[in-house]
Every structure is written in C-alpha cells, then in structure tokens.
C-alpha cells in the first residue's frame, strides 16, 4: 500500500503536470486514481481546492464516470467485459468461477482489500472475448476456465500485474477482409507535405467531391461540417477525433488506431488545414488505455518529422498539434457535445444545441468532431482524390465501410466492404450458420431478421456505425433486448426525464417478463407499457442515447413477438410486487408458515 505522504506528493505532481488546469479535471482524477486506487472525499476536496473548483463539482464529475471509484475498491480491480457477445462466449460462468475462487461477490472487495471483481460495458474486444480489464489497463483476452483459474492464483498470491503471463495481454487486429482503408496507403501515393501544399479550399473541395459521410453513426456529410466550422466566427479552431467507440460490438476504431494511426493523424491534419484549426485532440476511450504508449510514440515521431508542430509539412504559418485525452468509462461521451464537455473536464452531459460544436465547441471555439474511420478515409481521399472515393459504393453512400463482426460465426473480426454490400454476403463470408438475426450498428442500430438478409448496408437502407453481431437460432432475442436495455439504463447520463427514468422502467418491465422481478407472471398489459415507453423515449429525449435506447426492444417485439408473448401469459394484470413475499417479515415475526399466513395467487409459483 502506498503511504499517505507519497500519495499526497504524487497527487501534487499530477496537479503540477496538468498545470492546475480545471479543464484537465478528468485527466487529473484518472492519474490520481492510478496512484490511490480510489478517490476518497478528502482527496477530491484537495483537488477541488487546487483547481479552484467546488468539492460538489469535483464529486459530481468523479461520480459520473464508471471508471472512477468514490468508494473503496481492491488494490487490483478486475472488470469483466459485459457485452452480449462476451456472455455468449461464457463470461458469466467465468465471472462466477473467479468470484468463487476469490471468495468475493461481484462488486465487492475482499476483506484484506486486495481485489475486487465487477462488470463493465463492452471493452471492444468482441472478436477475442471473453475479455476483462485489470485496473482499467491492461486487458486480458480469450478467457477460459484455465486462464481464470491461473488468474485467481495470481490474485491470491498478490502477484503484480507486470509479472502475469504476457500472452494474456495479446490483442490481435483480426482483419478478415481488407479493402482500401485496411490495406493501408499504397507506397506510391503522395506524402502528406505534398497534400498539405494544396489550398485549404482545394482540400475541402476534394472531400466534398468524395461524398464522404461520417462513420460515427449519424452519417453527416463531412465536407458540410468542415465548411460550417471554417465559416464560423473566431480565431482559434479545434479538430477532435472521436475514438470513444463505446457502441457495444464495435471494435474497428481500435484496429485503425493500432495499425493505421498515421492515416488517422494524417486525416486530422488535413481537416485542420481545411478548416484552419491549430489544436487537435484524440479522445481515446478509457477501455483503450493500452493503446496510449504506442499512440504517444507515433505523435512524437510525427513531431520529429515536422508533421505536427509549427509550419506543419513545410507549410509556412500552419501550426497544428494533437493531444490525447483519455475517457473514463462513459458511453455517452461518444456523443460529440458530451465528448467536448468531457474534454473540458466536466461531466459528460450532452450540450444544448444550438450552438453546434462547429460554431462553439471546445472552450467555445469552432470545433470539428469526426470519427476515427472518417479521418482515415480523409487521408486516402486527400491523396487519391474525391472522385476516386465517390466511385466506390453507391451514389448516396460512397466509399467503403468497416464492420466489426462478432457473435455466432466461424470467423469474427474486421470486414471492409464497399457500402451497398448485402448483409447476406457478410454473413456468408464470416461463416455464419443458422442465422436468426443480426444486430447491425450495435444496440443503437437495427435488429435485422435473417429473412431480411438481402438488405444492404448503406445510409439509404440499413445504416451502420460498424457493429455486426450475429445471433443464431439457439439465441433468445428477448434476452438480447433485455441485455441491451440494461446497457442503456446503465449508461444514461441522467440529465433528461425520459431517458433517466424511462430506461430504468424498461429494464424493470423486461425483468418482470423474465420473471426476475415481481410475483407471478406478466400479461399483455406489460407489453403495452413497453410500447408506451418506446414512444416516450423515441421522441422526447435530449440526445441520441435515449432516443435509440428502445431500438432493440422495438425491433425484437416486431420481428420476434413470440419471445415476448410466451412470457406474457397471465390473463390479466399481475402486480409488480410479490404480495406474498411482502408478508415474509410478518410471518417471521409471528413464527407462522401455515397456509393461512400466505396470500393465495392464482398463478403458479
């Protein structure tokens, strides 16, 4: 255990490194916690005082991010990735196995404070799961019973993580089908300095010609976003790469950052030149902390090569540099305005719009936020021309798209295709058999039944942010929807009523249908309530998280209604509470357990 003086010294060193900048609060909390394991209130008060913030504000930020602990945790913290694909690969059994070996329950710390075990949302390793995070970094992939057993031994022996078998931390790219982006830039393409020598308008025009639309989900035309930022009033502009990749089942950005970081940074630099930005950020999700050293190295090399810093690429007066900010476990921070709040050291709550980030983003400066894959595409378009990109894909959906394929298939991994490729082809290529449905675009996307596999992935048909999760006929799609409902309730930022309360009510209603809550069985009444909740969330929330939270529910109710109907068998409404169970304390007090001390219900127990 680190002693108090070292901790205090360490915290002050962290504060000094970030120049006591309140906008660095999330980074300061993260680095502090790396020293102290958790964030006790007096420590938050110390940080608040040093940054000129209130304790309540700092407490509010610390309590927002899932990776910050405001209550004691073990010196070694194990977090099991809890995407549905991890579960399909047996993560829950492995979690139970580890907990049994260690003698702790999920979410609890062992008596000596040595370790704690819990779950976290998707870690972006669905093709090599089940996975877990150790102290939020590093990541252990391909868990099985033997690995978990060995892990328990190491934890019980207090073996430092650095001495664990290196093979456990292997993360592979798993590229199964490469098209232009995943093949990388050809040797004969012009280098970045030559590209940057063009005028900003020329760069913007190429991107406009390409017809490129954002790859982060919304599909907004990239050139239009850039033009708006360029036209916005202000001297300082910012380019942000959104590497939050929180959508369960998506892991393409992880591979692009691991193996094509130069292309991503090229794209950001081209964007900076086109819009006139000086400052760049890569917002890297906390789950990808393991990529940080390598990405910092690439940035350092680029600075040495003159591709970042002053007069970038030899263009006089073009100064641009990129800093990496790490997230701390909050899916909503992928929403671009929440991401900017987080960059500014605050809770990741989506902002009120207008103003839009392109008008007033990071610290009020006009800011462009684009996805990792979008910037990667820009790097190619800037060299090969917009017309070349526009020639790939369909008229409305140009270029290629990378899919993160996982679930019930023989060959999970990355597949890059021109847009407009039918779902059926991806299913055939990845070796999916006996398909029941595919969740395209993650839980926020669409659940497509096998009967519609002829549909194409394109903005005009089935749009996708990249996830492609396959479910075969042995899977219960009701349980899939229930799992995603829990995800959204867990990740709601809590700002707006419909999402904050509605996502929780959806979970409770589905739990009731699953007989995991309440007494007896569910009825058609419960299904009606779910439709109600879907309507309220769909049209009334502040951001896309709440608006799409019921997508899996709606799609599965429509296509797999039987999975719901078979759970709603009661002829009339059944209460949410178990009335008989409510009497248990009275029975205990009176020492009775005879039939007369029980309530009769006409539903089977």
């Amino acid at each position: 255990m680190v002693d108090a003086a070292t901790v205090a010294g360490g915290v002050d060193a962290v504060l000094g490194r970030w120049q006591r900048d309140p906008h660095a609060l999330v980074q300061i909390l993260r680095e502090t916690q790396a020293l102290t394991h958790w964030l006790p209130r007096p420590l938050l008060a110390h940080i608040a005082a040093a940054l000129g913030l209130t304790l309540a504000h700092v407490e509010g930020v610390a309590g927002f991010y899932r990776f910050f602990h405001t209550r004691p945790v073990g010196r070694t913290r194990v977090l099991f990735s809890d995407n549905i694909t991890d579960r399909m690969l047996g993560s829950e059994t492995l979690l139970a196995q580890l907990c049994a070996r260690l003698g702790v329950a999920p979410g609890e710390v062992d008596a000596q404070g040595r370790f704690s075990v819990d779950r976290c949302s998707c870690t972006g390793l669905c093709d090599q799961g089940p996975a877990l995070l150790v102290n939020h970094h590093p990541v252990v992939t391909r868990l099985d019973a033997a690995r978990v057993d060995a892990l328990a031994d190491l934890l019980l022996a207090d073996t430092p993580v650095e001495q664990w078998p290196a093979a456990w931390f292997d993360v592979i790219d798993g590229v199964q089908r490469a098209d232009v982006l995943l093949s990388g830039l050809a040797a004969d393409t012009p280098a970045l300095p030559a590209v940057l020598a063009q005028s900003p308008q020329a760069l913007l025009d190429e991107v406009a010609t390409s017809g490129l639309r954002g790859r982060g989900g919304a599909g907004f035309p990239t050139a239009r976003k850039w033009q708006a930022c360029r036209d916005a009033a202000g001297d300082l502009r910012v380019v942000v790469c959104n590497a939050d990749e929180g959508e369960p089942g998506t892991f393409k950005d992880r591979v692009l950052l691991a193996s094509h970081a130069d292309a991503v940074f090229d794209g950001m630099t081209v964007a900076a030149r086109a819009v006139g930005a000086q400052q760049g950020f890569l917002y890297l999700r906390g789950e990808y902390r393991f990529l940080l050293p390598q990405l910092e190295q690439v940035l350092a090399r680029r600075r040495a090569q003159g591709l970042l810093g002053r007069d970038v690429g030899g263009v006089a007066g073009f100064g641009f540099d990129i800093a990496i900010h790490l997230g701390a476990g909050a899916y909503v921070c992928g929403e671009e305005s929440a991401l900017i709040e987080s960059l500014e050291g605050k809770r990741g709550t989506p902002r009120i719009r207008p103003p839009f980030p392109v008008q007033a983003g990071y610290l009020g400066r006009p800011t462009v936020v684009n996805n990792v894959e979008t910037f990667c595409a820009v790097a190619h378009i800037a060299r090969r021309g917009g017309a070349w990109w526009a020639g790939i894909g369909t008229t409305q959906s140009t270029g290629t798209k990378i899919h993160s394929v996982s679930g019930d298939c023989a060959r999970p991994g990355l597949y890059e295709y021109p847009l407009g490729t039918p779902i059926a082809q991806i299913l055939a290529d990845c070796g999916a058999r006996d398909v029941q449905a595919v969740q395209v675009g993650g839980p926020s996307g669409a659940c497509v039944p096998a009967s519609e596999a002829g549909r194409a992935i394109a903005f005009e048909d089935v749009p996708s942010a990249g996830a492609f999760m396959v479910f075969d006929r042995t899977r219960d799609l009701f349980e899939v929807a229930r799992h995603f409902a829990r995800f959204f309730a867990h990740e709601s930022c809590g700002l707006c009523t419909p999402c904050r309360v509605g996502t929780e009510l959806v979970v409770r209603r589905l739990d009731k249908l699953a007989h995991a809550r309440g007494a007896g069985s569910a009825s058609a009444f419960d299904i009606d309530r779910l439709h109600d909740l879907d309507t309220v969330l769909h049209s009334g929330t502040h951001c896309g998280l709440g608006a799409s939270a019921c997508n899996p529910l709606r799609d599965t109710m429509r296509h797999f209604g039987a999975a719901y109907a078979q759970r709603a068998t009661a002829p009339q409404f059944q209460p949410d509470v178990d009335l008989d169970a409510e009497l248990s304390s009275a029975r205990r007090a009176t020492g009775r357990s005879d039939a007369g001390a029980h309530l009769h219900t006409d539903t089977p127990a």
Partner: protein, 230 residues
C-alpha cells in the same frame, strides 16, 4: 427590418418574437402556456424535464432551449403530445416519493399543477421507491430529496444569480442526484442563505424555506384556480 414584428405560429396563434427568443420565452411573453418544469426566465436553460416538448415543423424539440424562428409552425396542444406530457409527469412521480397531501408545497407546486392540468389520475408505471434521506441540517432551509425532480433550477440560480455554486449534479442514470457543496455534503454546512434566490426557485417541495409552511390558506395558493379546484 420590416415594420411588422416577426412571428411564428403556435397552435394557430401568431406569437411575436424578439431576438434571442426561445419558443417558450416568446410564448410566455405572449401569455401562452407551454407546460414546463425546469425553465425559468431568471436563469439559463437545462432542457432536463422535457415537459415543454413541442413539434417545430413536425420535429419534437424542447421549447425552452430551441430558438424561435420567424414563420415556423409550432404545435403544442396535440393529442400525442398530451399523452407524452402525461407519461413524463408519471415518470417523475414514480421516480421520487411524492405524497402531495402531506407536502407543504401543495397548491404552490408546479409538478402537482402540471399533473392536474395533464389530467393525471394514476401513476401508470411502477413506483421506484428510492431511499433518499431528508436533510434538515440547515437552520432556515429544508432539503427533501424525495421530491427533487433534478430540474437544476437551484444549481443554476446559485451559480448565475447568487454567485455561490452551492449545488451540483452527481451520479448518473437513475442514481443521478443533487449534490450540496460543503465538507459534510449537508445543507447546514454549505454557504446557502435563506435570502439566496436558490432557496426559493425550487418548483416542487424539495428545497423549502422553513417555518413558512401552510402560511397561505387553501383557496389563495398559487395554483388555486378554476382549473385545479376540481
């Protein structure tokens, strides 16, 4: 500029607008009611309750933070929006613990009157029964978190009007809660004074000045009007 003031259309009525108006602020000035909870003209918007959701050219938006646009068609009184408002109110009621008959804010409570106006007669959803301990540590102000609807009006009033930053928002999801800035986290140790605007802006009975309860006789309370007297 033309001589005629620019207007937009709210449920068939023309509403005059001024620069910087939101749909709600323009409507409020014109004396037209768009149901709301978390908005006050005294502070910036938070867009959190979503009760003010209207259709602007068919698209659902929060009227309290959406700029009013000349010539725009805005709908507030549609059957589906009425259902939407009812559901949102029911959600707020099941989220906290609201026992109107025993609350000294009754008759002056914006949540209560919005529910009455929306024709709410049941909760529709299951009650969540949260455990939220009452904070009575302040000599002059009571904090009853069971009635807090997380509208953030007190947060913004303390920041923007009082210049004190007494409140903040903590947690996330259904565990989101109001935080008080003091070493103990309790109101009695905070810088809040009963003279602060933040001590009076709460639309419900969550932050209540002490010793003034039930001072106004029934019949003369803020919302004792024809539409709520029953």
């Amino acid at each position: 500029m033309s001589a005629v003031d620019p207007t937009f259309d709210l449920d068939g009525q023309p509403v005059a607008l001024q620069p910087g108006d939101t749909i709600l602020s323009a409507a409020a000035r014109a004396g037209l009611d768009i149901p709301h909870l978390c908005w006050s003209e005294e502070v910036s918007g938070s867009a959190s309750c979503r009760l003010c959701t209207v259709l602007a050219e068919g698209r659902p938006v929060a009227a309290c933070v959406t700029p009013a646009v000349a010539g725009q068609k805005v709908e507030c009184r549609t059957p589906s929006l009425a259902t939407q408002r009812l559901r949102l109110l029911q959600m707020l009621f099941v989220e906290g613990n609201h026992f109107c008959p025993g609350c000294e804010k009754s008759g002056n409570c914006l949540l209560q009157v919005q529910a009455e106006r929306a024709g709410m007669t049941d909760l529709n959803f299951e009650v969540l029964n949260p455990e939220r301990p009452v904070d009575a540590s302040h000599p002059d102000v009571l904090f009853e978190p069971n009635r807090c609807i997380l509208c953030q009006l007190c947060v913004r009033a303390s920041d923007e009007i009082d210049g004190k930053r007494v409140f903040a928002i903590g947690g996330h999801g259904i565990a989101t809660r109001l935080l008080i800035d003091s070493p103990s986290g309790r109101l009695g140790d905070s810088a809040l004074s009963v003279d602060d605007r933040a001590a009076h802006i709460c639309p419900v009975g969550a932050l209540l000045p002490k010793r003034v309860g039930f001072a106004v006789p029934i019949g003369q309370r803020r919302f004792d009007t024809e539409d709520t007297r029953g």
